[in-house]
């Protein structure tokens, strides 16, 4: 199996899905001739032509709206939004339409589209280019939210997202794009949406993370007897895997880079409190970004949850 980074893995998934199914089309700003600003769609225009790989006007609302229309009529569009920070002009189309077409038509329409977008910190540009607002999309019934944490996860999850009958917001952690290479299988390879992955088993504490925080959490907790869960799908999330682990460890720390208030950690903590309060030996702790816009340059290191903060939370919990 060849070693690939996440960019190559995502490119491969798109290529294979397009080969497999001629209903799959790709659209977005600069995805064609330029191969995408992060090169995820590199070479697709040459391979599949302009009818299936479409450079669009700079108009996010219409990118998503058009994709909705395409999907209602049986196509399987994969729309790229250049950065998560640019998705907000399309928020209306996602929330007001994509999310509820199935429900609104009482099950007669489906909206099998994927919105891919790079997200989170990683390139040291400030605010909207660094932020992670996954929680917005988790608050939209009808939308699935997927966040891969490495190249092979990215490939398998993107293939599943494209084949999924419902709209999927697919968040690609910018920091991970070229960070590591790993073996990524060629060919028909999918990872089911809605399933978390236990990355490392342990018994003293459960640590839950996703996206680029996963790798940070794993490294921060090397010396701890921690069970580490990579959530992978945020909506609908895999409560079973989490609760099984909490039953075993009785202690939970959740790590995310998004701001704390109403971050997805809050939802996890509430679910754990509702379902597993009697297993808990201490409070569910969150290590998150502060409730501020992401700042520039050096300050971003202070903004992001780092190893020291993750370890401090775990040490605090272990005292219970």
């Amino acid at each position: 199996m060849p070693a690939r980074n996440m960019v190559q893995a995502l490119n491969l998934a798109l290529r294979e899905e397009m080969e497999r199914d001629d209903r799959v089309v790709v659209l977005g700003e600069d995805v064609g001739k330029d191969g995408g600003v992060f090169r995820i769609t590199d070479g697709l225009l040459e391979r599949f032509g302009e009818e299936r790989v479409m450079d669009t006007p700079l108009a996010e609302s219409a990118i998503v709206g058009t994709a909705i229309g395409m999907s209602l009529y049986g196509l399987r569009p994969v729309a790229e939004i250049q950065f998560m920070g640019f998705i907000y002009p399309a928020f209306d189309q996602i929330f007001s339409h994509a999310a509820r077409m199935r429900n609104r038509s009482r099950g007669r329409f489906s909206c099998p589209l994927v919105i891919r977008t790079p997200y989170g910190a990683g390139i040291k540009a400030p605010e909207l280019h660094e932020e992670s607002t996954e929680a917005f999309f988790c608050h939209m019934p009808g939308i699935k939210v997927v966040v891969p944490s490495g190249p092979s996860m990215a490939k398998g999850l993107l293939a599943s997202a494209i084949r999924d009958p419902d709209p999927v917001v697919f968040l690609e952690p910018t920091r991970l794009y070229r960070l590591v290479k790993e073996e990524v299988p060629d060919g028909d390879y999918t990872i089911p949406i809605g399933q978390a992955r236990v990355v490392r088993e342990g018994s003293a504490i459960t640590a839950i993370a996703w996206g680029s925080m996963l790798e940070r959490t794993v490294r921060a907790l090397e010396d701890f007897d921690a069970e580490i869960i990579d959530l992978l799908t945020l909506s609908p999330f895999d409560s079973e895997t989490i609760l099984r682990s909490v039953d075993k460890t009785g202690r939970v720390v959740i790590v995310h880079e998004a701001p704390r208030t109403c971050g997805f950690g809050a939802e996890l903590a509430a679910t754990i409190a509702e379902e597993a309060i009697l297993s808990l030996r201490g409070p569910v702790l969150r290590v998150t970004g502060p409730d501020v816009p992401v700042p520039l340059a050096k300050l971003v290191d202070h903004y992001l949850p780092g190893a020291a903060r993750i370890r401090a939370a775990v040490e605090e919990l272990l005292r219970y």
């Binding site: 001739k33 191969g35 450079d55 002009p89 540009a125 502060p290 520039l296 903004y303």
Partner: protein, 336 residues
Amino acid sequence: MDTRLRAILPDQQLLKFYEQMTLCREFEESCAEQYTKGHITGFLHLYSGQEAVAVGATAGLHPDDYILSAYREHPQAIVRGADPKVVMAELFGKATGLCKGKGGSMHLFEPELAFMGGYAIVGGQFPIAVGLAFASKYRREDRISVCFFGDGAVNQGNFHEGLNWARLWELPVLFICENNFYGIGTEVRRSSALADIHKRTCGYDIPSEKVDGMDVIAVYQAVKHAAEWVSGHGRPYLIEAVTYRFRGHSMSDPGRYRSPAEVELWKERDPIPNFARRLIDEGIATEDTLACMRAKAAVLVEEAVKFAEESPWPEDDEVCNDVYAPVGEEVCPWLK
């Protein structure tokens, strides 16, 4: 009509144009170097090639007029009067930066210069410019809003919503499109059904014109005239300045979407040496005066870099400031 420079403006002003354009170019080229060295992080969009627009336009405005721009805006802030040192420090993310080193290259703000922001979100500035114009009108102030944007931005809903609104409410907004033919890697003709951007205002009954954005004098004249019209009529106007960016969209752009020959062709129209030639031909400057100005610009930029390098980083706690108003603070303290 007398088209000689001296018939249009006094020597001093003409030389200032040259000086400012040179400073902008030096500044941007130095930014590129600082980015390569890792001193500037994130995204860096350089203005080289488009200087005639910032310089000519700013000169055609009243210093009180609001300016809003996109993310390729360092020169616009500097020409408006921002200290290059403080701008460079901002790009470095230093505490002495224009915005405390928290906003960086794409989000320059200086309310005291009525520089109401760089906007990284394409099209975000349109309705905001409209709102500022409303506020001026409401306060019976004679200032207009000037909204710079790129050719890519005109397909964003905000452009259309903003234009319609400005005309409907009769608000003094001067829209200035810097048409450099590309939005990242997508050429205007591949993104706009009507590539003649100035013609797109007819749906909103807004007068418009196209101007050579590589000619500082042409831009100056068009903007001065348009700004007076906007202020006099209390209605919007749009200028399309046709220009070109010599560098990639940002520092991470390999530029595969255009040919080196095309770039070279446009470089022959470089606004700075072409203007220099006119100054010399018409006896307004000598080669020596201009060389001297270039050297001065280089020194200013060197000083800016040194200042940025030597400035402290913001304190970590700075992250949490300025999210909400401190209790009891006056709203918009810069408004006199």
